[in-house]
C-alpha cells in the first residue's frame, strides 16, 4: 500500500486549478489576429471619397472624405446624430449612400458589380448591441459564418472559433447561449465572431455604449490588444481614453460633416475647430 504514489492533497491543487479555467478569464495572451501582425503601414485600406447620403430630403452625410491606412487605428467621434455611425456603416454597405465612392482593400463598395457579401466577409463589424444570434450557442455563433460564407469545414471553424473564444477569456462558455452571458462577455464574443472571419479591417460601431460601466474595460482591453497587433480599425466611440491610448488619428464629425481629421496628438492638444473644442471640453470635464 505504501508503495502506491499517492500525492499529498496540497500538491494536487495546482493541477486541479489548471483543469478548471475560471469562468471569465479576461483577455488571454496570444494573437487575436491570425498569423503575423498585419501592420505594413502606408498602403490605403479604406478610402472614403466625397460621400453624401440622404434620408429622403434630410442630408445625413455631406461630402465626407478620409482615408484609413493599413494598420492604422482611427477613432470617429462627435455628438449624437452627427452621422458617425452612418458613415461607418457605409464602409461595408450596410447603409447605402447616394454620392461618392468608398474603396475597401481595393474593392469599390458602390459599384454595381461588387459582390457585397464577399466584401463584407472580409470586413469585421462589431455593433453597439452585440447582435449575437440568440437562438445559437456561442460556438455556433462563432462558426456559422465561417462555415456558410467561407466554406470552412466544421472542425476548422470550431477550432478557429474556440481558439479566439479562449483568447478573449471566455473558453468556459462555449456551450452557453448569448442570453446567459453579461453584456461585456457578449461583446467580446461578438469581437471573436468577427475576427474568426480573418477580416482585413475591423469596424466598431459604439462597441461600449450599451454596456454597464464596469464592463467597458474588458471590451476595451480586447480592442487595445487588437490595435497593438496591427489590425486596421475604424472605431466610433466616446471613449476618449481609448482614443488617447491607441488611436493614430481622430476624426471629429458634426451634422454629417467631417469637421476635423487630425493626428491624435494634434486633436487632443489643439483642436482647430471651435465645435471640436466645445465637444472635447464637454466630454472631458468629468
Amino acid at each position: 500500500m505504501t508503495s502506491s504514489p499517492m500525492p499529498a492533497p496540497t500538491a494536487a491543487e495546482p493541477a486541479v486549478e489548471a483543469a478548471y479555467a475560471p469562468a471569465d478569464a479576461g483577455l488571454q495572451p496570444g494573437h487575436l489576429v491570425s498569423g503575423v501582425p498585419q501592420a505594413a503601414p502606408g498602403e490605403t485600406m479604406i478610402a472614403i471619397d466625397n460621400i453624401s447620403k440622404w434620408y429622403g430630403d434630410f442630408q445625413v452625410l455631406t461630402n465626407c472624405t478620409t482615408k484609413v491606412a493599413k494598420g492604422e487605428v482611427v477613432v470617429v467621434c462627435g455628438p449624437s446624430g452627427s452621422g458617425k455611425s452612418t458613415l461607418i456603416k457605409c464602409v461595408n454597405a450596410l447603409e447605402p449612400f447616394q454620392k461618392g465612392q468608398i474603396t475597401v482593400a481595393g474593392t469599390k463598395v458602390a459599384d454595381k458589380g461588387t459582390n457585397l457579401p464577399k466584401l463584407r466577409s472580409r470586413v469585421g463589424m462589431v455593433f453597439q448591441h452585440f447582435e449575437l444570434f440568440p437562438h445559437l450557442s456561442i460556438t455556433d455563433n462563432l462558426t456559422i459564418a465561417q462555415r456558410k460564407v467561407l466554406g470552412r469545414s466544421a472542425e476548422d471553424a470550431k477550432k478557429r472559433g474556440l481558439d479566439l473564444l479562449a483568447r478573449v477569456g471566455l473558453g468556459a462558455h462555449a456551450t452557453k447561449f448569448p442570453g446567459q452571458l453579461s453584456g461585456g462577455q457578449q461583446q467580446r464574443v461578438a469581437i471573436a465572431r468577427a475576427l474568426a472571419m480573418n477580416p482585413v479591417v475591423m469596424l466598431f460601431d459604439e462597441p461600449t455604449s450599451a454596456l454597464d460601466p464596469e464592463m467597458v474595460g474588458e471590451v476595451l482591453d480586447v480592442m487595445v490588444e487588437l490595435a497593438k497587433e496591427g489590425m486596421t480599425m475604424m472605431v466610433v466611440t466616446h471613449e476618449m481614453g481609448f482614443a488617447r491610448k491607441v488611436a493614430d488619428r481622430v476624426i471629429f464629425m458634426d451634422r454629417g460633416e467631417i469637421v476635423e481629421d487630425a493626428k491624435k496628438e494634434d486633436f487632443f492638444g489643439s483642436p482647430r475647430s471651435e465645435r471640436a473644442q466645445t465637444f472635447l471640453s464637454k466630454i472631458l470635464q468629468h
Binding site: S121, K148, V149
Partner: protein, 230 residues
C-alpha cells in the same frame, strides 16, 4: 329520452371512424400545414422583400384568400383545376386530379395566406440588427434568412402556427363537399346509413372538442417554454 338512443352504433363503427376517417383528417391536416407554412413563409418573404411587383402580388394573393369562403375555394379548385391543367399541358381533355390531391392543394394554398400573415409578423419581430449582423458577416439574403431570421421567427411564432393548424384541423371537415371520407364524413356516412344522426354527430363533436382542446392546452404550455432568452 336517452332510452331511444343507441350508442352501440358508435362502438361498432369505431374502426371505420378512426381507421379511415381520422387517419385521413390527420394526414390532410399535417400535409396541408407543412405545405402551407412553407408557401406562407415564401409569401411573407416576397411581401417583405420590397421588390416592386413581388410585394404587390404576394399582398394581393393573401388578401384574395382571406376574402373568400374556404368552401367556395375548394369547389372552385376541384372543378376548375382540371381545365387549367389541361390548358397548361395543352391536353384536349380535362386532366384527372382526383379529390385528395385537389383538396390538399386547396388547403395548402388557402392556409398559406393565413400562415404568411403569421410569418410576416414573425419576421418583422426580429430586430433589424440581427439582419445587419448576418450581412456584416458576409451572408447573402438566403443565408441571412435561413440561418438567422427564419429560425428565430419560427420559434417566436410556433404557438400561433400551431393554433392556426388546430383551426385547419377543423376546417378539413369541409372536404365532405368533394365526397371525401374524413372523420366528419365517416361519421356522417354511418349516421345516415344507420339512421343514428344524433348519436354520431354528438360523438363527432366530442372527439373534435377533446382533440382541439387538448392541443390548445399543449400549445399554451409550449408557449412558455420556447421563448428565447434575449
Amino acid at each position: 329520452m336517452l332510452s331511444n338512443f343507441d350508442f352501440s352504433v358508435i362502438v361498432q363503427s369505431l374502426p371505420y371512424l378512426f381507421g379511415q376517417g381520422m387517419v385521413f383528417t390527420v394526414t390532410l391536416t399535417a400535409m396541408a400545414a407543412v405545405g402551407g407554412v412553407i408557401i406562407g413563409t415564401l409569401l411573407a418573404m416576397a411581401r417583405l422583400s420590397g421588390v416592386p411587383g413581388l410585394t404587390q402580388v404576394a399582398k394581393g394573393y393573401v388578401e384574395l384568400c382571406r376574402s373568400l369562403p374556404l368552401v367556395l375555394v375548394i369547389f372552385w379548385f376541384y372543378f376548375l383545376v382540371p381545365y387549367i391543367g389541361a390548358y397548361v399541358t395543352g391536353s384536349s381533355t380535362p386532366i384527372q386530379v382526383g379529390a385528395f390531391p385537389s383538396a390538399l392543394i386547396t388547403f395548402m394554398a388557402f392556409e398559406a395566406a393565413y400562415f404568411s400573415e403569421i410569418m410576416r409578423a414573425g419576421i418583422q419581430s426580429i430586430p433589424k440588427g440581427q439582419t445587419a449582423a448576418a450581412q456584416a458577416l458576409g451572408m447573402n439574403y438566403w443565408q441571412t434568412m435561413g440561418n438567422v431570421v427564419l429560425p428565430q421567427a419560427f420559434r417566436n411564432m410556433l404557438p400561433l402556427l400551431l393554433t392556426q393548424t388546430i383551426i385547419l384541423f377543423q376546417d378539413t371537415s369541409l372536404v365532405y363537399v368533394l365526397s371525401l371520407t374524413d372523420f366528419m364524413g365517416a361519421a356522417s356516412k354511418v349516421a345516415q346509413r344507420d339512421g343514428r344522426l344524433v348519436e354520431m354527430y354528438i360523438f363527432a363533436a366530442v372527439v373534435y372538442f377533446v382533440i382541439c382542446f387538448s392541443a390548445s392546452f399543449l400549445v399554451r404550455r409550449l408557449q412558455r417554454r420556447v421563448a428565447i432568452i434575449r
